[in-house]
């Protein structure tokens, strides 16, 4: 209360204004999506109904939702598995060339992904994976430096004594990984999974180059190609599609929020 009263009223008004300004596109999005007779201008809904959402979930747009889910969950899970399997040994074992590898990762981390788009295209063409599976592989490779560094730093904060104790007690490698290591490093794994998931969910350039048919698009390219598809812009459909497309990204954030915060804190200790 004491702190609250110190904010000058002018500042409070300015902040409220900024919040409204920032949120106004969402208001428009929601009122447009639930109004089957919308014209696209900000208005009270002429009618209420789920028609736009039904339209946005049928046919190709429904397939595009499935494509996006498969692509993003696949990329995130693959990234976590591949990176965790390498980050743990990197954290625990004193390997030759370990520092060189870590510094190499820092450098690779800084490279813009746009830089390798042309060779990625040719690799995918050569491997016959100019599709969402190719996008999944490419994104995993691109995610790797960041995810590996983050997880390595995270594993550094997990005490090795617990693993040793379990080993002395006769636990198998599999048991140590699933019973001790994974529960302890949950937050770190969640952070990496979240970043890879939202990264893949957002990704636009690679599917734009890799995907060939409307039924194969993920939602990013699907929404983009729907912008100009009709003579008059179908705002209701686009708004409903946008809401469906945005929902998982927002939802995943709020579901994992607690884990994300502890994950960041754990990473911050050494990173």
């Amino acid at each position: 209360m004491d702190a609250q009263s110190r904010t000058p009223p002018l500042m409070a008004v300015a902040l409220a204004f900024i919040a409204i300004l920032w949120a106004s596109p969402f208001l428009w999005l929601v009122t447009t999506a639930i109004d089957p007779k919308t014209t696209g201008s900000l208005d009270f809904p002429h009618a209420l109904g789920p028609d736009n959402f039904i339209h946005a979930l049928s046919g190709n747009s429904g397939l595009q939702l499935i494509n996006s889910i498969v692509l993003s969950v696949g990329t995130a899970t693959l990234t976590v598995i591949v990176c965790a399997a390498a980050a743990y040994p990197l954290s625990r074992l004193r390997l030759p060339g370990r520092n060189l590898l870590l510094w190499g990762l820092v450098l690779l981390r800084l490279l813009p992904a746009t830089g390798v788009v042309v060779p990625l295209y040719f690799s995918a063409l050569w491997l016959h994976v100019l599709n969402n599976f190719g996008v999944m592989l490419a994104l995993t490779v691109l995610n790797l430096p960041f995810a590996l560094l983050l997880l390595k730093n995270f594993f550094d904060t997990v005490p090795i004594e617990l693993e040793e104790a379990a080993y002395v007690e006769g636990a198998s490698l599999f048991q140590i990984i699933t019973q001790i290591l994974m529960p302890l490093s949950r937050s770190g794994l969640v952070v990496v999974w979240f970043f890879s998931f939202t990264g893949a969910w957002n990704e636009f350039l690679l599917p734009l180059i890799f995907s060939r048919t409307a039924a194969g698009f993920p939602m990013s390219v699907g929404l983009f190609s729907a912008f100009g598809q009709h003579g008059a812009v179908d705002y209701g459909f686009l708004a409903a599609y946008s809401m469906i497309y945005a929902a998982p990204a927002v939802l995943v954030y709020f579901l994992l929020r607690r884990n994300l915060n502890t994950g960041f804190a754990g990473v911050g200790v050494k990173g």
């Binding site: 106004s24 040994p89 746009t114 945005a246």
Partner: protein, 296 residues
């Protein structure tokens, strides 16, 4: 660093080394692809036609072309303007100001402003792009709420002010990240230091510029490092809003690279643009990392 003599690590060494293989393979692929991108930039490789099969090494021709032909330098300038205004002025300065203004606030007010910021950030790029496309169109939000009440005719803002619209859209989208980082940074400034400055008679502005900013120097450098790189190489929002147009008004380097590679089909030239982008980003990163390392 764990002791090498631990029996647990000795027993798990072999499976651990095998588990590293997929990641090592992928790192090798990434390095290989980067090397490939650099190699392409010295060839006349094209997407289709004769030069897609019978390509030749042409030395530095692609790089010479960047500076002698129309396009690259103009695009670089657009990118610099876009990055400066949307990342440095917009996201960083505005994000910092918001973090400072919201610091004494608790409860509902702060949650509401934060939620509004976060929604923009969490939204997929293409959704943000659609929202802005609708907001700046002739019947859209901006015309209806701002221009028409002022007595002006509705105009197509994207056709007339493409670059400012793209910059503002990116500020709207990205400020949350800087805000979150600076909020955490401000929490790390000890309260007694601020109190001491206040007692010694420092004004509000002096406290910010002479006490707070030097103390969070490392946070500022980290923030700048990330948002400059992201903004400099940003593609999705700009491309989906304007496609680089009208004309080449919003053709930032990533879009220029895309057009040259997959539009015109000159992959060698596109690779040279990529390499130039990597070099610029590399120099910027080294600059910021040096700032990060210097003593407080």
């Amino acid at each position: 660093m764990a002791s090498q003599t631990s029996p647990w690590l000795r027993s798990a060494r072999a499976p651990m080394l095998i588990a590293m293989l997929p990641a090592l393979l992928m790192i090798a692929v990434l390095i290989y692809l980067t090397g490939w991108a650099i190699a392409y930039s010295f060839t006349n490789l094209e997407l289709t036609g004769v030069n897609s099969i019978n390509w030749r090494w042409i030395g530095f021709d692609n790089y010479v072309r960047l500076f002698t032909r129309h396009g690259f330098l103009e695009s670089l300038w657009v990118t610099v303007i876009f990055t400066f205004f949307s990342a440095i002025v917009g996201q960083s300065v505005f994000g910092f100001s918001l973090a400072l203004a919201l610091r004494p606030l608790y409860g509902v007010g702060r949650t509401l402003v934060e939620a509004a910021l976060m929604l923009g950030w969490l939204l997929p790029d293409i959704v943000a792009s659609f929202l802005w496309l609708a907001a700046v169109s002739s019947p859209g939000l901006l015309n209806a709420l701002v221009l028409r009440p002022l007595g002006m005719q509705p105009i197509d803002l994207l056709a007339q002010y493409a670059l400012p619209v793209v910059i503002i859209a990116n500020v709207w989208k990205g400020t949350a990240w800087s805000y979150l980082l600076f909020s955490a940074a401000l929490d790390s400034v000890p309260r007694d230091v601020m109190e001491a400055a206040r007692v010694d008679g420092a004004t509000g502005l002096q406290r910010i510029f002479l006490v707070v900013l030097p103390m969070i120097r490392a946070h500022i450098a980290t923030n700048m490092l990330f948002i400059t790189i992201w903004t400099f190489t940003y593609f999705t929002l700009i491309y989906s809003l304007t496609g680089g147009g009208p004309g080449t008004q919003t053709e930032v380097l990533s879009i220029f690279m895309y057009h040259q590679s997959f539009g015109v089909g000159k992959l060698g030239n596109g690779a040279a643009i990529s390499v130039a982008m990597m070099l610029i980003v590399g120099v910027l990163s080294i600059f910021y990392l040096r700032q990060l390392k210097e003593p407080k």
